[in-house]
């Protein structure tokens, strides 16, 4: 039951992209297509689960003073493994994700989960946390990738040749270049906050973000109160 809670919190309540707003570099850079989003999501999930598992099981051995270097070594190891495997067996994807695979090392979601969760909790809970966060990250990327690809290219590319033509209007190229990433992400964040505010109002209370999430500096969800 406890593990199940850890598993689902990443989907909505603590979604890494839309609630924690972490790991923005790969989020903005690779979400030009659904295929890239899925690839990045799977790679990050693998690293997240493996590093969480290893760190949780050796957490008592790690001296407090050098815990960050230890976490980074563990994370970097798994990232290198992902990169090697991907280049060998999914070369096309490796080509399109490029530099963002090695950069998973500095993705703050992964170090964040290691520091905030895996170093304080047991193996099973940490794996559940890794899977939940990973799936939440992947879903966030896919949603963002789908919005950008539909608007910017008019297609949805699920994997390789599994591709759907959604519309044949002249695509809005802005959406698949870098500024489009910011625009799409901003709109989605606003939409999510709006939905939460409306839901909260229906229940007769004003929406307040959970205090343990670092979004106190942002007041967008209080707008219109």
């Amino acid at each position: 039951m406890k593990a199940y809670r850890q598993l689902i919190k990443g989907l909505w309540e603590e979604n890494p992209i839309f609630r924690l707003v972490l790991g923005m570099c790969p989020t903005l850079a690779v979400t030009t297509s659904v295929e890239n989003s899925i690839g990045m999501g799977i790679a990050a999930t693998f690293v997240l689960v493996s590093s969480n598992a290893v760190i949780a099981s050796i957490r008592r051995l790690i001296p407090r003073k050098v815990r960050i270097p230890c976490f980074i070594v563990v994370i970097a190891t798994f990232v290198t493994i992902v990169e090697l495997v991907m280049e060998g067996y999914a070369n096309k994807l490796h080509g399109s994700l490029g530099i963002f695979i090695p950069l998973i090392v500095v993705n703050c979601i992964i170090l964040g989960r290691a520091e905030a969760f895996a170093s304080k909790n047991g193996l099973l809970l940490s794996i559940a946390d890794g899977i939940g966060m990973g799936i939440g990250f992947t879903l966030g990327l896919v949603v963002l990738g789908a919005c950008r690809e539909v608007l910017g290219a008019g297609t949805i590319t699920v994997w390789g040749d599994l591709k759907f033509q959604v519309h044949s209007m002249a695509p809005m190229i802005l959406m698949i270049v870098a500024p489009g990433g910011f625009i799409a992400l901003g709109c989605l964040l606003a939409l999510m906050n709006h939905v939460q505010t409306v839901l909260a109002r229906r229940q007769g209370r004003s929406f307040t973000p959970p205090a343990h999430l670092d979004c106190r500096h942002c007041t967008i969800c209080k707008f219109g109160d």
Binding site: T32, I58, L61, I62, P63, K65, V66, P69, C70, V73, V74, A76, T77, T80, I81, L84, V85, E87, G88, Y89, N91, K92, G95, G152, A153, P171, I173, I176, V177
Partner: protein
């Protein structure tokens, strides 16, 4: 403290060495495969392995490797990789295939370019690349239509289109036409 960190590093090094050992062969194969595919695509039907049948030409202080296609023991075409440094986002590598009767058979823009997605990146699509097919090298003006040439550039991506055309021109007009004897030399180095 030092001991634990060293231990973790040693363990991770060992793990990476193991994974590297397993993936080394597939990675090498995937890299080779990419090039092989491009070579085969731009050459006319052949019955040899052009990737291992090469002739080298020296021109302008540079070495150009031509991948030779043969059918029934006779040359039918040659392909070579040409790099343009005039791309919008760095180098663009183009594989250019030429037939024995001095026509471009086909070109393939290798996928490791960094052109703008949706704009310049369209240079690797068939709609742009297909127009190079069957163009006689001698009687074609090798520049984009905007500069008075015979190639229609990608709309809003003139820089990228120019880069591809200039890569093709360098390979086909400059190197190939001036060194035909060397390209179709009798000896085939295996």
């Amino acid at each position: 403290m030092v001991f634990v960190l060293s231990l973790i590093c040693a363990a991770s090094g060992l793990l990476m060495a193991l994974v590297y050992d397993v993936t080394e062969a597939p990675i090498a194969e995937a890299r080779l495969h990419k090039k092989d595919d491009a070579i085969s695509k731009v050459l006319p039907p052949h019955d040899n392995d052009p990737a291992t049948t090469t002739n080298t030409v020296e021109y302008g202080g540079e070495k150009w490797t031509f991948y030779m296609a043969t059918k029934a023991g006779k040359y039918v075409g040659a392909a070579c990789e040409s790099i343009s440094q005039e791309g919008y986002g760095g180098d663009i590598r183009v594989m250019v295939g030429i037939t024995v009767d001095d026509k471009v058979y086909g070109i393939e823009v290798l996928s490791d370019h960094k052109e703008t997605p949706g704009l310049g990146a369209q240079i690797s699509q068939d709609t742009f690349c297909a127009q190079f097919a069957d163009k006689p090298i001698g009687s074609t003006t090798w520049s984009v239509a905007k500069d008075g040439g015979d190639i229609d550039g990608v709309t809003a991506a003139t820089i990228s289109s120019r880069a591809v055309v200039s890569a093709v021109r360098a390979a086909a007009v400059d190197v190939y036409m001036n060194n035909k004897d060397a390209v179709y030399a009798e000896e085939v180095s295996e």
